[in-house]
């Protein structure tokens, strides 16, 4: 019995609490368009700590970070038909880009609108970027076609939404408002090869049943950590009593 085991157990419990927060956020966003679930599995990191010769030092690690597994699960969510003229989903990889006050951000949420000035905007109100910057749709009905072209009711092409590709989407970090922030690595998809689904949006890729399974497993693991803590506590208690005798 050392204090190390106490730390390991409490670090394990702490890891489960972090995982619980991730699961909670995934489930809260089960209905958020373009949302991508966070994933973390902690087993490996914990094993490494337990096996480490210098356990106390390695406990300084963020034990919850699994260096083997995925962070954000970048698989597409189900594409749902909405019928909205300016709703568009990306079939395959890539992100729409929007201009925010903090800089260009990326999103999979394709439920677009037009602001009173006639500019194409995201649900959070940020201008959607086309090949040449923000897109002016102007008054009147318009729709986005499978090639990303914005077509007016009279058939004129008003612009085209751009799709940005990343070699490695795991480099993106989440920024809230369905947005991702990226290092400057985006490669813009050449015009004419876009694979968009008009009148549809990509919904959240959270799989509630999977998250529930994670929830049950992490709860059990938390319980186990608590048992270990209690056992450690009882053992040290006994040791102190023996020494005082």
């Amino acid at each position: 019995m050392t204090t190390t085991s106490l730390y390991v157990s409490s670090a394990g419990a702490d890891a489960r609490l972090k995982q619980l927060e991730m699961v909670a956020n995934n489930l809260a966003n089960a209905d958020t368009d373009g949302f991508r679930a966070d994933a973390a599995s902690f087993g490996r990191a914990l094993t490494a700590n337990l096996e480490s010769a210098d356990a106390e030092r390695s406990l300084g690690l963020h034990v919850f970070v699994n260096t083997q597994g995925p962070g954000v699960r970048h698989v597409s969510g189900p594409v749902t038909r909405t019928g909205g003229d300016l709703d568009v989903a990306i079939d395959g990889p890539g992100f729409f880009s929007v201009q925010t006050p903090a800089g260009v951000r990326y999103t999979r949420a394709g439920g677009f609108q037009v602001d009173p000035a006639g500019q194409l905007i995201s649900t959070a109100g940020h201008p959607v970027l086309g090949d040449g910057g923000p897109i002016n749709v102007g008054p009147g009905a318009a729709r986005i076609d499978a090639d990303g072209q914005i077509v007016s009711a009279t058939g004129g092409v008003l612009g085209r939404v751009a799709v940005d590709l990343f070699e490695d989407p795991s480099q993106l970090s989440k920024a809230g408002e369905n947005l991702f922030e990226a290092p400057p690595l985006a490669r813009r998809q050449p015009a004419g090869v876009r694979n968009l689904v008009p009148g549809s949006v990509e919904t959240s890729n959270v799989k509630p049943m999977q998250e529930l399974a994670h929830l049950v497993v992490l709860q059990r693991a938390f319980d186990a950590s608590m048992e270990a803590l209690q056992a450690d506590d009882a053992a040290s208690n006994r040791l102190i009593q023996e020494m005082n005798r």
Binding site: M22, A24, A30, D38, V65, D115, P116, S152, S173, G176
Partner: protein, 259 residues
């Protein structure tokens, strides 16, 4: 315990979803009703490890670790797709096919917009809505008029008295908006201009991208009952799993505090 609040935001979001579904289903047979769809956004994230950061052993993390704080309502947009055209055969039932709204003068003197073209003639002979509000521009139908005809371009004509050739009584105009989903619902099948919708642009039906007018038809609600029911079941399940997270958080907290 952040997970408790995170799960609560999820339950709140699903409650909003259910609220809009309930209203959509309640208006499944309201003429000119446009269904509402809430859109949600994730909240801000706490970054525990940035992608590419190195851990204590000097190994670069291929992925980061971020923990989010839940969800919030982004907007409740209206989907302005065309509703089904229902034949009524009434000569004063009008449907817009395509973009555009009829203009109505509310009793308060403001202009409102509607897709519900179930019009009547009031005691003064003016074309009015079901609730008696004037249609703009005003169209007066003489008491001895018969065989009222409304053309696709909104021209209203009728046989007046014993005349054998029709007299033109006026022409309907339609209004359209830069951002129709941003219109404010007033109830009674009426919409009003909002800061988000932009101002009304008027035009002649069937011209410059405006929709045409169909006489003898009404536009039904664009609510798809099957779709709403599916969404309702999904919302209910999502609500349940979020409440399950609250339960789990509570049990874990209890366990920790009983140490």
């Amino acid at each position: 315990m952040r997970a408790l609040f995170t799960a609560a935001t999820g339950m709140e979001a699903q409650q909003t979803r259910i609220d809009t579904i309930a209203n959509n289903l309640a208006n499944v047979s309201t003429s000119g009703y446009k269904k509402q769809v809430p859109q949600f956004e994730d909240l801000f994230y706490e970054t525990l490890a940035a992608p590419g950061a190195t851990d204590a052993t000097g190994q670069a993390l291929p992925t980061g670790a971020q923990i989010g704080h839940g969800v919030r309502l982004g907007s409740v947009g209206r989907v302005h797709t065309q509703g089904d055209r229902i034949t009524t055969g009434r000569e004063l039932d009008l449907a817009v096919e395509g973009d555009g709204y009829f203009q109505i003068q509310t009793p308060g003197g403001e202009t409102a917009y509607t897709r519900d073209g179930a019009f009547q003639v009031d005691q003064d002979g003016n074309l009015v809505t079901r609730l008696g509000s004037l249609v703009i521009p005003t169209i007066n139908v003489p008491t001895d008029a018969s065989n009222i005809t409304v053309l696709e371009d909104g021209t209203v004509s009728a046989l007046v008295g014993d005349a054998t050739s029709p007299t033109t009584l006026g022409q309907l105009q339609l209004a359209r908006f830069t951002n129709a989903p941003g219109l404010r619902g007033l109830g009674s099948n009426l919409f009003a201009v909002s800061e988000a919708s932009g101002n009304a642009e008027l035009g002649i039906p069937n011209q410059n991208g405006f929709g045409g007018v169909s006489q003898g038809f009404l536009e039904s609600s664009n609510v798809d009952m099957a779709e709403e029911l599916v969404r309702m079941i999904l919302a209910q399940r999502a609500f349940e799993v979020n409440s399950r997270v609250i339960q789990a958080s509570d049990e874990m907290l209890q366990r920790a505090s009983n140490l």
